[in-house]
């Protein structure tokens, strides 16, 4: 999911920090701390999908 967000930011030439900040504020998570080792929490994933849809109009 994070990779798709990074792609979207690059494709649309968006301000990466601003977009990640908005996503972070919306989900209550620091995007910078999300990595491949981050455990999947269904609640966090749902929040992230919702935020991505709202901010980037991106369906994950």
């Amino acid at each position: 999911m994070r990779m798709r967000v990074e792609e979207k930011i690059k494709t649309d030439n968006l301000d990466a920090m601003a977009v990640k900040g908005k996503l972070g504020l919306k989900t209550g998570m620091l995007i910078a701390l999300i990595s491949a080792n981050t455990p999947d929490k269904p609640e966090s994933i749902a929040k992230f999908k919702l935020a991505a849809k709202e901010i980037l109009n991106l369906s994950l």
Partner: protein, 388 residues
């Protein structure tokens, strides 16, 4: 512009203030305009009442002096005493020709009785012998002193004097009456002030036969049937509404009152009225005054427009300056704080929030900058980020 932003709310508030302020100013101007027109009408009434009183007094003095000068010629009193109509006409007719030019419309001799009969009307010599049955006739016969005032006669509604005439031996020979029809007053007042006047009389104080006779004498249409209670004696204006009155004339205050504001054609007018009394003290009618206020009216309209435009421009400029200051001092700085705070959360730990002043927003900038520094310091100890 977002509907829930402070900027939008401020703009809406300013527009509301503009509308309320403009409405208030227009209402104030309207109130002031109405008060001024009311004052103009009151001034017109006061001026007309004074002018009427002055004219009435002057004419009464003139007629009083005429009476005295007649009494200086005992031949006139003797002719009246002897009931010698031919001699009386011969003596006084040339005199009356000159008096007509001075506005005297009624020059009448009455017999010396408690209910005096008309002995000679110089303005209508063929008609005599009738009893007028008026207040002033009875009053002069009772008191044997001059009686003055307004009263209806066969030659119109007039300001009159009636006084005893004396024979060469000092005996009362009869009475002499002078009258000046009040329509002439209205025309004289109009030529002095430029205002228009109308005289309305209450029918209950007017003898209908006298009214008909007067109109015949003055060669006018008999308008007795035009209105149920009142009748217009004379008016200087072309339009009829000058004497338009639905109330009760007897309830008018003695100082008069302003009535209304109306327009006729392209002109604007104010109207007022004051009562007039007859010799017995009854409020027999009223004089209406109409003043043309077109120039004043247009001037007020122009002022109203200038005020309205000035208010709109001033409020718009004020609103613009207010919004500009708010943007510079508050909104732009808040937006910058939000942008940097968001970027920090997004991973941009290096952009500092510039504290631009020590005002309220400056304190918030400082607080956020301190918070950002703490936040960045905390994150610097997170292992995942250290690896990156």
């Amino acid at each position: 512009m977002k509907m829930n932003s402070i900027r939008t709310k401020v703009v809406v508030a300013c527009l509301c203030c503009l509308a309320v302020g403009l409405g208030g100013i227009l209402a104030l101007i309207h109130f002031s305009f109405n008060r001024n027109t009311q004052n103009l009408a009151t001034q017109a009434v006061t001026g007309a009442q004074s002018l009427f009183a002055i004219s009435e007094t002057r004419e009464i003095r003139k007629m009083s002096a005429l009476t005295q000068s007649l009494n200086l010629n005992p031949r006139i009193g003797d002719a009246l005493l002897a009931r010698d109509r031919e001699h009386l006409i011969e003596t006084t007719a040339p005199f009356f020709l000159n008096l007509k030019d001075d506005g005297i419309t009624d020059f009448t001799f009455h017999t010396q009785e408690l209910d005096p009969a008309v002995f000679l009307r110089l303005q209508d010599p063929a008609r005599y012998g009738d009893h007028m049955d008026r207040f002033m006739d009875k009053q002069v016969a009772t008191t044997l002193t001059m009686v003055t005032g307004n009263e209806m006669g066969r030659a119109g509604f007039a300001v009159r004097t009636i006084a005893p005439m004396f024979g060469s031996h000092g005996e009362v020979a009869g009475y002499v009456e002078f009258g000046e029809e009040l329509g002439q007053f209205l025309n004289a007042m109009k030529s002095t002030t430029g205002d228009d006047y109308g005289l309305l009389l209450d029918k209950k104080y007017i003898n209908q036969q006298f009214w008909a006779d007067s109109n015949q004498t003055l060669n006018r249409r008999d308008n007795w049937g035009d209105s149920p209670n009142y009748v217009v004696w004379d008016k200087t204006a072309k339009f009829d509404r000058i004497c338009d009155f639905k109330g009760d004339l007897s309830t008018l205050p003695s100082t008069g009152q302003a009535l209304d504001h109306f327009h006729e054609g392209n002109s604007e007018f104010v109207r007022g009225v004051f009562p007039i009394q007859d010799v017995a003290g009854n409020k027999v009618g009223a004089i209406f005054v109409v003043r043309d206020i077109t120039t004043f009216y247009h001037s007020m309209q122009h002022t109203e427009l200038i005020f309205a435009v000035s208010t709109v421009v001033a409020v718009l400029i004020g609103t613009g300056i207010f919004l500009l200051m708010l943007s510079r001092l508050v909104f732009d700085r808040l937006e910058r704080i939000i942008k940097i705070a968001t970027s920090v959360v997004g991973g941009d730990f290096g952009t500092e929030i510039q504290v631009r002043s020590n005002d309220e927003v400056g304190q918030l900038e400082q607080l956020f900058e301190q918070f950002r520094q703490v936040f960045v310091d905390v994150l610097s100890h997170v292992p995942e980020l250290q690896q990156k």
